[in-house]
Amino acid sequence: MIALTGVRKSFRGRPVLRDVSFTVEAGTVVCLIGPSGAGKSTVLRCVNGLEHHDAGVIKVSGREVTTESLPTIRRELAMVFQKFNLLPHRTALGNIIEGPVHVLGRSEAESRREALNLLERVGLTNKADEYPHQLSGGEQQRVGIARALAMRPKAILFDEPTSALDPERVREVLQVMRDLAEEGMTMLVVTHEMNFAREVADRVVFMDGGAIVEAGSPGQVLGDPVAQRTREFLDRVLHPI
């Protein structure tokens, strides 16, 4: 579904991705973990073309990511942002139907019906007409996920979806993501939630310094890591004090 081969990228001469290769099979969940500045978010942003990679090949559904293919690829991939990025001048419902109506050209009536179903699915039926500033962070992020689903994407990219949330709001968002995973959605998730990665991911990729240090099943990477660097990172994340 998503395949990266030898992807490299520099910002002003400073390498941020060094030879990154991995794949996300259709219907699976891959969690990207690692310290901040490891290049996890940059990987995600290269996949849907918010950043341009300097070398290597990224393929989505067998189609290479290029300037020409981006419009098509962006319709197949949805993205959920760390800071939600809801449009402040549109209601929850308005945010959800924005893409379907204006990008995909679907009818507004049909899109509204589908948006209401999606809001029910993320537990926000009664918030359809609220503006983002009237919603809590957790609610905004669930609208963000509903907005992603409204595009009927083949895969969803999650960029630290719970990092900007109050601790007690994290669970409601992770629950929605867990449900999605169980329904077979293809997901590439940048996260610091190790329990989520352990329980939901099919594969975990650990990155540091712009490179993949190790990748494998959650049991192996999180339970019995091979690399010293992975062990140090996990030790620090799991035992912060």
């Binding site: 990025n85 449009l87 001048h89 204006h102 503006y131 595009m151």
Partner: protein, 219 residues
Amino acid sequence: MSADSFFHEAVLFMPVLLKGLGMTVLLTLAALATSVVVGLGWALMGASRFAPLRAGSAIVINFIRGIPIIVQLFYVYFVLPELGINLEPFVAGVIGLGLAYSVYQAENFRGGFKSVDRSLVETGQSLGMSDWLIMRRIIFPLGIRVALPSFGNTTVMLLKDSSIASTITIAELTRAGQLLAISTFKNGTVYTLVALLYLIASLPLARTVRVLERRLSQQ
């Protein structure tokens, strides 16, 4: 100028001055519409990802901004006829003031567009929106809210600068006052009334902008 004679003269002069005020309002609204449309054009060129368009916008803005409005009006009204383009005074006034003010409107729009968070542009991109759709659905509606206060200022300035059109024979408020003053020698009464009428005309403008601002910020 006693109070008594002031009111007496005011009643006499008012019909002429009110007619002038009507022309001032008409001229201001027409020039405002022109300046907003043309200014939006400059701002959209300036926001383009196509470098020649951006450069063109910057050149035009600096060019127009660097020339006094009265000289621009003279150019449209006195020089264009030499090139075979004869314009009615009112049309020349609307074009001259509209063009002169288009660059201020462009700067208002530009400031508004720039205030829109980059992450919302990326949101539009990740939804598969084209640049134009992102402008229409995200940058414009959000930027306009930020631009509105300076838009109000610009409009009040335009109302006052419409007095410059008196120099190309448009019978607006200042011109009407000038003619009255010359023929009656009642400078004090006439120009006090002219000043009051400009002031009165500018108040509803400021108010309209405030109401709009409040309505938009509620969303």
